[in-house]
């Protein structure tokens, strides 16, 4: 393993309260030291990071790789390449693959595929219930032993609150994190847009804010009852943030993440019937977006995730309600986070913590920091480099993003995983 010297970068490590210009030293795949030069260090590789930011590699709590089973939308190879180019060095894979991640064999298959793709840190989230049917409990002890990082029923609703209660109790007995999408399906009622002016104007079936806030309230009561470690995935509305904040004050062990696009777009930004904007939960109002940003700033929401969902062309080719929801969002994660900093919604250290230190803490992983001895998962980015979302600059197999054609500031130049350079930006000389 080579010794790497990352020189002259602005090193930001929220965990260790570091924000200063200097060097980072890596040997044997581990971090040797930040800022202070170790004795007798001769680098095999030196990366000049002048005017670049050097931080821990990003940890993404929700990335659909579409592999196994849905490889016409994306493959483990294509999507981990996209992840590496986005500075993401660890990612959690929700269980709604084919086969569904509800067996040890499925977990082994994913680890095997990740190894072949030379991407080390894929963390499968196992199904909370077999086949995600929402009725019985999955074999969580065996799934944990096989290496799942958490349990979740993805976006599939559970049969009733009793199943959720039992699943939370059982997961808690095995010290497993439950990741949950808070949705009351009866109120979601096959909607495809936020219930409000936009859905009324365009005659689209709406999803009221209450479908999420009621589910959050129910889950919080169950968390209290079961003492379960609960994480809310991809919340979208103001009242959910308020309820989670209150529960945290009460002392519940609750965390939450938000998808990066929810911090930017609202129902007013949707181009009429443009299926690139079809996403679940739907884009809500400016007030919701403001509260999500506030929740991020005050620590109620600890994590920003990409909620990456690449799609094939056909999935998005149709009348809006008939298309599949989701955005291919890994590669716009960093520039959109930087744009939050630019908008003064959060500061840069907070933004980086939401992508590194905080998700590592929720998952209980020894990652997301530049402490000596940890795996050298590193992201180096140029915060001022402009680039345009187009096929030349895109790695994911899914081109389904409302930001297609947008010019952003901020781009990853190098990504290291366990001390290995897995991505280097090749700039077009033209």
């Amino acid at each position: 393993m080579s010794k790497i010297h990352i020189a002259n970068g602005r090193i930001i490590d929220p965990e260790n309260n570091i924000d200063q210009t200097g060097s980072l030293y890596i040997a044997d795949g581990k971090i040797l030291s930040a800022i202070e030069a170790p004795a007798d260090f001769t680098a095999d590789i030196t990366i000049d990071a002048t005017e670049h930011i050097v931080c821990p590699g990003f940890i993404d709590l929700s990335v659909r790789l579409r592999d196994p089973g849905l490889t016409y939308k994306g493959t483990l190879q294509s999507e981990t390449t996209a992840a590496a180019s986005a500075g993401v060095t660890s990612l959690c894979l929700p269980p709604d693959t084919r086969p569904i991640i509800d067996s040890q064999a499925a977990i082994e298959l994913i680890y095997d595929k990740a190894e072949k793709a030379n991407y080390r840190h894929v963390y499968p989230i196992a199904a909370l219930t077999p086949q995600l049917r929402g009725i019985e409990l999955s074999s969580m002890a065996a799934l944990k032993q096989a290496g799942c990082i958490a349990v979740s029923n993805a976006t599939v609703p559970l049969a009733n609150l009793l199943v959720l209660r039992r699943a939370m109790e059982y997961a808690s007995s095995h010290d497993l994190l439950v990741m949950h999408h808070p949705v009351e399906p009866a109120l979601e009622n096959k909607g495809c847009a936020h219930e409000g002016f936009f859905s009324t104007h365009y005659g689209l079936p709406g999803i009221p804010e209450a479908s999420e806030s009621i589910a959050v309230a129910q889950c919080l009561e169950l968390a209290k009852l079961t003492d379960c470690k609960l994480h809310f995935s991809q919340i979208s509305c103001k009242s959910a943030v308020i309820k989670i904040q209150q529960a945290q004050k009460y002392g519940l062990d609750i965390s939450a993440d938000v998808a990066i696009h929810q911090l930017h777009l609202t129902e007013n930004d949707i181009e009429p019937f443009n299926s690139s904007y079809h996403v679940l939960p739907p884009f809500r109002t400016a007030k919701d977006r403001q509260m999500l940003r506030k929740g991020l700033a005050n620590g109620t929401i600890k994590v920003i995730c990409s909620d990456h969902q690449p799609h094939d062309l056909d999935a998005k080719l149709g009348a809006f309600p008939e298309t599949e929801p989701g955005i291919s969002s890994l590669e716009t994660l960093l520039p959109l986070m930087l744009s939050l900093v630019n908008d003064k919604a959060i500061n840069l250290t907070q933004g980086i913590a939401c992508l590194t230190q905080n998700p590592a803490e929720i998952l209980g992983l020894p990652l997301g920091a530049l402490s000596p001895g940890l795996d050298a998962d590193i992201c180096i980015f140029n915060p001022d480099l402009s680039w345009t979302v187009n096929p030349q600059n895109w790695n994911s197999a899914g081109q389904n993003t409302p930001f297609w054609g947008t010019t952003f500031k901020g781009r990853v130049t190098h990504t290291l995983q366990s001390g290995k350079i897995i991505y280097t930006l090749k700039l077009n000389t033209s």
Binding site: F197, T200, Y202, G206, P272, L317, G318, F320, P321
Partner: protein, 320 residues
């Protein structure tokens, strides 16, 4: 925002939604329809305006009235018309919407008239069809039914002449009504004094007031001093999905009766896009009474659809 409906010269190419169309364009449609009114009363009910053009009616959702008036409108303009009921055709064999469109394009057609159960289907087809083909929306999901709205505007103008001083109410299932959405946009563009919606809260979409209407939950308040009453059809399935308790209770609260009609102006007209449910949303004596213009709406439908077909196909730059 909806400029995709207009060609480079700013003239009508598609007709998908009223949104984004100017008062001038709507007035041009009404004026053109006016000039077509006489044709249906001539012994030879045909003009050669669209001779040699092929128009395909693509109905992914059942309709008798709308399809028939589109067929008659096209044949009175001497176009060749083909009506395809897709519900029982290709898509039930698994063919996608886009493949159906591509196949028909390959047969060199000039216009699609589309009805579809999903909101946004009209936009989708217009944006994915060959540039020389015009698309007319004959109703998409709960989004828009712009030709129905225009024939309603035509009927209102026939009886009331000037839009400016009018108070208009739309009564009934606004939530599920594409007709109501298009009517509201047309009435706003043509500049009526006041637009009201009258319905129980279960049949009103959220934030409906932001469409620029006054909201009423009782007929007694909503009908006061009206010039135009537009009743919207109530679908039977609303009773089974916990939106309303029964037809009887609905008629009792929101049915248009002789007594309630007296609350409106004495010369108010009563409209309904059909098909009507007698004794559910409207009393028979009113549907057949002197203030009803329901059948006039149907006749006007042909002239208005002739106007829209002619304007969209004439704006191609080639000779028609």
């Amino acid at each position: 925002m909806n400029n995709f409906q207009l060609n480079k010269e700013g003239r009508l190419h598609h007709f998908i939604t009223i949104e984004g169309l100017s008062k001038e364009i709507l007035t041009e449609i009404l004026d053109t329809a006016e000039s077509f009114l006489g044709i249906s009363e001539q012994p030879v009910k045909k003009v050669p305006l669209l001779r040699g053009k092929t128009i395909v009616n693509l109905f992914f959702e059942n309709s008798t009235r709308t399809r028939t008036t589109f067929e008659l409108a096209a044949s009175r303009l001497s176009a060749d018309v083909l009506s395809i009921n897709i519900e029982t055709s290709a898509t039930s064999k698994g063919e996608s919407l886009l493949d159906t469109i591509r196949n028909l394009e390959a047969m060199h057609v000039d216009m699609f008239v589309v009805r579809h159960a999903i909101s946004g289907a009209g936009h989708f087809i217009a944006q994915n069809t060959a540039p020389h083909i015009s698309v007319i929306n004959a109703g998409d999901g709960q989004h828009a039914h712009p030709t129905q709205a225009m024939l309603d505007m035509f009927t209102i103008r026939q009886y009331k002449h000037d839009f400016k001083p009018l108070k208009v109410a739309i009564i009934g299932d606004i939530l599920h009504s594409r007709v109501a959405r298009s009517q509201i946009q047309a009435l706003k563009t043509l500049g009526v004094k006041e637009i009201r919606v009258v319905a129980p809260k279960t049949l009103l979409p959220s934030h409906v007031e932001q469409l620029g209407v006054k909201v009423f939950n009782t007929m007694e308040e909503g009908l006061d001093n009206l010039d135009v009453i537009i009743m919207v059809r109530l679908q039977k399935e609303r009773m089974t999905s916990a939106l309303l308790p029964s037809e009887r209770e609905y008629f009792k609260c929101f049915g248009l009766t002789e007594e309630r009609l007296k609350l409106a102006k004495p010369d108010a007209i009563v409209m309904h896009p059909g098909p009507i449910n007698r004794g559910v949303e409207i009393a028979s004596s009113i549907a057949d009474g002197p203030q009803s213009v329901i059948l006039q709406q149907v006749s006007n439908g042909i002239a208005v659809r002739m106007a829209i077909m002619t304007l969209t196909l004439q704006n191609k730059g080639d000779s028609v």
